[in-house]
């Protein structure tokens, strides 16, 4: 009986353990990423690294869950007031690192700063203002009904308005956003997030300490200190994990997946990503690409499954469209079409049986195995008599060439900042228009005003089911038109020591919620 009682008490203690852990976050996490955040100003640059930093040191109003839903963070709840307005209730008693308390004024301040940021202003273009109702209530107002209001709200990480107001000793505004470096915000930080930056040597080391007054006391996270070392070289990063030098690495290069799987001390977590890799066919440079049959022939000639299996070692999800699963526009009917015989027939029908020669360009250090993929596609095209003159370049030199549309076929990868299909179309398939910036990355010069219109209509459609149907139609039409050649969505991979439970805090956007990380 006594034994039973002890067991009972013991299990109770275990059940209560997470809470006890949260009270004292004592564990240390050493992690190695391929890069470190470029600045401490979260509005200076929109990139994966910066968003990871935002989630560590700030908190968003709401954040994405694993299945691409939303969960409340600093905003406790929200409700629609009218077509153009959403009212948010802010969590009370949330402290900034400076000790100031979070109010609706901070949200307004942050929103206005976002509107000034070169990188973020595009996301907030549909918004007109933040209307403060009282200390803990505010409204997000859009110009037109905007279905992606909550998506955009995940980018609002309230900043400490008092801390970032005023002037520095040399007379510069503290809220200045300066990409050339040397602003107050790029060196100082006050957020509401689980961690405070304790030490920062850019490019060498970044140290975080857990914020003692962190509002989320229910979080099971028990990591008190995080040391981030940027390790760009894939081999070195993997070695650092295998030798026990670090506890957690990302990304894991596809070539080392097996090595990590077979190591008994480490865990590997992989996920389908949301970054689409594709080729664009420039219709302005090549007369033949204007012919839908030729484009279709190319779509039939490219073996997505083969590339994903052989070159990506199974570390990619073959694609026939841009929208990954979970996005509103994802059309489950669209499957990769690979049929060389059909492709050859189409070429014949189009009158290009003897083929032609084109130029192709791809980066060689931007996407996983980008240069090898380009070589494979070039080889596949030779089977329908299209001779490819391929050139691969480092990314720094590739993008200027891309902007110049310097080759007939060019590779691009894209991740939608809004986690929404419309973003893909706006940048990649809209009729290029330098005035509005539409089709900025449409190196194929594909143009279908009808589809553009449909997307624009979807962008003011707040009935999400209806909207999904519209976007899926767009995806279907693009597929039929063979507007571009989709290849795959790049998978994501992380690895950690067995006692570091990374799985629950990871997501497809690749900003791990490390505040909730548990180390055993």
């Amino acid at each position: 009986m006594k034994k039973l009682l002890t067991a009972f008490v013991g299990s109770m203690a275990l059940a209560a353990a997470p809470v006890a852990f949260a009270a004292e976050a004592t564990k240390e996490l050493k992690m190695a990423y391929d890069a470190d955040p470029v600045t401490m100003d979260i509005h200076e640059q929109l990139s994966g690294g910066m968003l990871q930093l935002s989630h560590l040191t700030f908190d968003p109003l709401l954040r994405w869950t694993k299945d691409l839903g939303f969960e409340p963070r600093l905003a406790e709840s929200w409700e629609r007031v009218d077509d153009n307005t959403m009212r948010f209730k802010l969590r009370e008693g949330v402290k900034f690192h400076s000790g100031n308390e979070l109010t609706a004024e901070d949200v307004k301040f942050t929103f206005e700063r976002l509107k000034k940021s070169a990188d973020y202003k595009a996301i907030f273009r549909p918004f007109t203002e933040v209307r403060v109702v009282d200390d803990y209530t505010f409204e997000l107002v859009t110009e037109k009904p905007y279905p992606l209001l909550l998506n955009a709200a995940t980018y609002i990480f309230p900043m400490d308005s008092e801390f970032y107001s005023g002037e520095t000793d040399d007379g510069k505004a503290k809220d200045l956003i300066d990409k050339k470096g040397g602003s107050f915000a790029s060196r100082n930080m006050s957020g509401t997030g689980p961690y405070i930056i304790a030490d920062r040597q850019q490019g060498v080391r970044l140290e975080f300490e857990r914020f003692a007054d962190y509002w989320d006391t229910e979080s099971p996270g028990n990591v008190g200190k995080i040391v981030l070392t940027p390790i760009k070289e894939n081999n070195t990063r993997v070695s650092a994990l295998l030798s026990g030098g670090v506890d957690f690495i990302a990304p894991v290069p596809p070539t080392d997946l097996d090595r990590i799987r077979s190591d008994k001390n480490t865990d590997l977590v992989t996920m389908t990503g949301t970054r689409i890799i594709m080729f664009q066919l420039n219709q302005e440079r090549v007369e033949a690409f204007k012919n839908p049959k030729v484009r279709e022939a190319i779509a039939y000639a490219v073996n997505q499954e083969g590339i994903a299996a052989k070159i990506m070692k199974g570390f990619a999800t073959p694609a026939a469209q841009m929208s990954p699963e979970g996005y509103q526009g994802h059309n489950p009917n669209l499957k990769p079409r690979y049929d060389v015989a059909k492709a050859q027939e189409l070429m014949k029908e189009a009158g290009y049986e003897d083929g032609f020669t084109i130029t192709m360009m791809a980066p060689n250090n931007r996407y996983v195995n980008d240069d090898k993929i380009a070589q494979a596609v070039a080889a596949m095209l030779s089977r329908i008599n299209i001779k490819v003159d391929l050139k691969t370049l480092p990314k720094a030199q590739y993008w200027p060439e891309f902007d110049d549309r310097a080759a007939d076929m060019m590779m691009i990868g894209w991740h939608a900042d809004t986690e929404d299909s419309a973003n893909f179309y706006e940048f990649l398939t809209f009729c290029p228009d330098s005035e509005t910036g539409a089709g900025q990355y449409n190196a194929g010069n594909y143009c279908n005003p009808e589809l553009d219109k449909l997307v624009e209509m979807a962008n003011v459609e707040t009935d999400l089911d209806k909207r999904a149907e519209m976007l899926q139609t767009v995806e279907q039409r693009l597929y039929e038109d063979a507007a571009f050649i989709p290849l795959h969505w790049q998978d994501l991979a992380w690895a950690a020591k067995k006692n570091v439970k990374i799985e629950p805090v990871l997501n497809v956007m690749n900003f791990p919620y490390l505040g909730d990380l548990v180390i055993e």
């Binding site: 595009a122 070195t236 070695s239 650092a240 720094a396 200027p400 973003n423």
Partner: protein, 349 residues
């Protein structure tokens, strides 16, 4: 001596000028720095504005003159990535590289001199033949391969199960061939000692020295075989010379002949080569630092290239150029000290 210095300094200035022009003129081929500074979805208009602010739209000559004007006042520009003066960035990263070079140099000196001398005195001994064989192999292995093998052996560890574990000799062989690992595989470690300014040294803690070990060996691995062979060859030649034979005939003790008379003259060409090689070693640090994530100027330079951080690239090339010029000058001076018959003016003797 003074004439020599004046001549050297004017030479150095000319070299620096040429480097700056070359470094500056390749910038158009390094890609667009803005790609690293802004997100993909930033409009062309915004980019153009930033390009204007950075002065990237000015003609080449205007950009160069602005750079040169600032450089003469000691300002080599501001790094796009670090947002700090490039000189500061380089000075912060330089100690790590210098310590790596010092570590490698120590290894080279400690091993090359005794091995080289031994191999010259006893050319037929099996140990000499072994060293020569290994050094031939050593010369032909690229430094990054050495580094990766070292990491696998001594950081991650290797478990060998080639031989039957249940027999005594088998498990002994397995054990002898397996390694434990455990040595740090990246970075400089946490326990650095602050010396002065931005100099954080790894030479004074066990942790720091352990972190230094594998990178230093990797870096030394390229030069060590070369120096062993060089010392051996020079020493053998010196041992054949008349004055050594005369010393032998006089009945001087062998160690005195070998280490005092012969070694001194052997070292002259070795120092010359060594000086040049130290300069080359700075270049090799780029490879070593990349593999070991060693936070020095080599790694910094390589990343600056991938980021098209033009000011930092130009500044690095200037600084490395300066280091070359200075080491070459110092080598000439040391040469003069070791062998006073050398005329420093560099004019016809």
């Amino acid at each position: 001596m003074l004439a020599f210095l004046v001549q050297r300094i004017s030479q150095a200035l000319l070299v620096m000028f040429v480097i700056s022009v070359i470094a500056f003129s390749i910038q158009d081929n390094l890609g667009d720095p803005l790609q690293e500074m802004v997100g993909m979805s930033v409009s062309e208009e915004e980019r153009e504005k930033l390009r204007d602010e950075l002065g990237l739209n000015d003609p080449f000559v205007v950009q160069y003159l602005r750079f040169a004007g600032n450089a003469l006042q000691g300002d080599l520009g501001t790094s796009y990535f670090y947002g700090k003066p490039t000189v500061d960035v380089i000075l912060e990263n330089l100690p790590a590289t210098l310590e790596l070079v010092i570590g490698a140099t120590l290894i080279i000196v400690l091993f090359s001199v005794p091995i080289g001398v031994y191999a010259a005195i006893r050319p037929q001994a099996w140990l000499s033949k072994f060293f020569m064989g290994v050094s031939t192999v050593g010369i032909s292995i690229p430094v990054f391969l050495t580094a990766i093998v070292l990491i696998q052996l001594f950081s991650i560890g290797v478990t060998v199960t080639l031989f039957p574990e249940d027999t005594g000799w088998g498990s002994w062989l397995n054990g002898a061939l397996s390694t434990n690992g455990g040595l740090p595989s990246y970075g400089r470690g946490d326990e650095l000692t602050h010396l002065f300014g931005t100099w954080e040294s790894g030479f004074f803690t066990q942790d720091g020295l352990l972190h230094l070990l594998l990178p230093s060996i990797s870096l030394a691995s390229i030069m060590l075989p070369l120096f062993i062979r060089l010392i051996r060859a020079e020493m053998m030649e010196v041992l054949q010379s008349d004055y050594i034979r005369y010393a032998r005939a006089k009945g001087l003790a062998a160690p005195r002949i070998n280490f005092l008379h012969a070694l001194k003259n052997t070292m002259l060409p070795v120092i010359t080569v060594g000086g040049v090689q130290i300069g080359i070693m700075v270049a090799y640090t780029i490879l070593t630092e990349t593999v070991f994530q060693w936070p020095g100027v080599g790694l910094m330079f390589l990343e600056a290239i991938t980021r098209s951080d033009i000011p930092l690239i130009v500044a690095y090339l200037m600084v490395v150029g300066l280091i070359f010029v200075i080491t070459n000058t110092l080598v000439d001076l040391i040469y003069g000290l070791v062998n006073p018959t050398v005329k420093l003016t560099g004019k016809k003797a």
